[in-house]
Amino acid sequence: MRSAIRFEKKKIAVEYLSFILPFLVIIVFIFVYPILKNISLSFHNARFMEKSEFIGFENYIKLFNDKRFWNSVFVLLKYTVLYTVGIFIVGFVTSTLLNSNDSKSKSIFRTIFVLPYAIPDVVAAMVFLWILDFQFGIANHLLIEVFHIIDHPIHWLGANKTTSLLTIVLIEIWRQFPLHTLLLLASMQDVPVELYEAASLDGAGRISKFFKITIPHMSKVIMILLTLTIIWSLRRFTMIWLLTQGGPDRGTETIAIQIYNYVFQFNRMSYGAAIGVVLLILTSVLLIIYMRLQKFEN
């Protein structure tokens, strides 16, 4: 009898394994092995197609004295703060607009608001490069001739560090905000209607209802989405690369762009790997915060 149970248990374990095995194989080959290899690379002086030697912590020592590295940390920090604040503002405005719209136009506006999600990064980058062209771009034309906001055309990308970073962040928000709209909207719709009705009876206005009922009810979702947004902002590469390649004068060179530059442009693979390890550690810290928050919710 006991051996029959043991046999049954073994059978279940084999079945379980056969369901998760493909998943495990891919995770091991595409994530676990590369992460370990990356750590090992960072202790070598590897370049493509050349033999490498073990050099201990040399890359890390160089890294922490490298102005260029600290510049990219600072750029990423500015980028993350601007991106996160901006995308939450746009996300809140659009989701509130949809949530308070009870007419038929709601579904049309939702379709429009989520549209940028369907535009590939490379497409958005090309279109904005032309719209923001210094000489022939419509952006400068509209701001000077039509709205009279500025007197002289602006070099949106590639001349001034701050302007370039701001421009990139705005384009990133244009491309990425639909997810925030949808997630905040879903969470807003979970707030019980009775609470609003009760508040109305007490004479609360729209704005006080928003801050006293809606926001507190959404606080957990907001915290989780905030952590996710910060993590996602570390991952962003494509738009920055296509718009400025990290320029002007490294003003938009985030850590991800810098790794790419070291690995593929300057052929300093191990140095790039060391930066990668630092970025992995940073992500892990955020990940732990995220997992804590998730458990909190459950």
């Binding site: 998760i20 493909p22 590369p34 607009l97 490379v122 419509i138 790997a273």
Partner: protein, 275 residues
């Protein structure tokens, strides 16, 4: 007729935001229909003075953009099949078996969603290079699929969890194996979730630039993003040609978006925050 003031203000702000969203797309189409001369003589015209499909004709004769797009579809299609199949199986295991190891799978699925792709690109490139898999669509598709696994599995697991377990138990009494239950009961009932996952992964991979442009260096095998981006690497970008390429490249995601919007929105809302 007019409900109240705040309703109208809401509509006006919504319209203003809509303009900001739609304008770049509109501008892309308009510029793609101006000829090279008009592009500079009439750069701000909201309509071309003369509707000129020269950009499209050049692209059709050149054929490059269609090859890039075909390559993108092959890689995305292949990758999406891998990632959805693999994540369906894993999601079933997590939803129906009780093993401590589930926690490891769950943690790795969350971590892989968060990992910065650029941070591990050097070792992945070296690994594929050592087995002659750079410039291979299969190699790229497996890497792209791997980055989708975590998200897909989360969406699917939350759907599978909602399928009543009594159905499984009834099937087990009938003598069905776990795989039959998965194939005959869980999958058909979760069709909408599977469609959502397929679509969202497709969008992501079709859009992906970093890996698709570094793992494929052979100019003849470029995918859409690498090909279109190459327009800016020479002096004097031909914007008419470039922007007609971007219009052509956007057709697939736009058609999918407008026809299957519900599935996409459902997937995005269930997958991201619940984890």
């Amino acid at each position: 007729m007019f409900k109240n003031k705040s309703f109208i203000i809401g509509i006006i702000i919504s319209l203003a935001i809509s303009v900001v969203i739609i304008f770049p797309v509109y501008w892309m189409i308009i510029v793609s229909l101006k000829n090279e001369v008009e592009l500079f003589s009439n750069p701000y015209g909201f309509f071309p003075k003369e509707w000129n499909p020269i950009g499209y004709i050049t692209n059709i004769q050149d054929n490059k953009v269609f090859i890039w797009m075909k390559n993108s579809v092959i890689v995305s299609g292949f990758a999406v099949i891998i990632s959805t199949t693999v994540s369906c199986l894993a999601a079933y295991a997590l939803s129906r078996f009780r093993f401590k190891f589930n926690k490891v799978i769950l943690a790795s699925s969350i971590s892989t969603q968060m990992i910065v792709p650029a941070a591990i690109i050097a070792p992945i490139y070296l690994m594929l290079n050592s087995i002659n898999m750079t410039n291979s669509f299969t190699g790229l598709a497996i890497v792209e699929a791997a980055f989708q696994l975590g998200f897909s599995m989360n969406v699917l697991k939350s759907f599978f969890d909602n399928v009543p377990i009594q159905l499984d138990e009834a099937a087990k009494i009938e003598g069905c194996s776990e795989f039959t239950i998965f194939k005959k009961i869980i999958l058909p009932l979760s069709k909408p979730a599977v469609v959502s996952v397929l679509l969202i992964s497709f969008f992501d991979i079709y859009n992906e630039f970093l890996y698709s442009s570094t793992l494929i260096t052979d100019i003849n095998k470029w995918l859409g993003p690498a090909g279109i981006a190459s327009n800016t690497s020479r002096v004097g970008v031909n914007w008419t040609v470039t922007l007609s390429q971007t219009v052509i490249f956007s057709v697939i995601p736009l058609v999918l978006y407008f026809t299957l919007q519900r599935n996409i929105i459902r997937g995005l809302t269930t997958g991201s925050v619940k984890g």
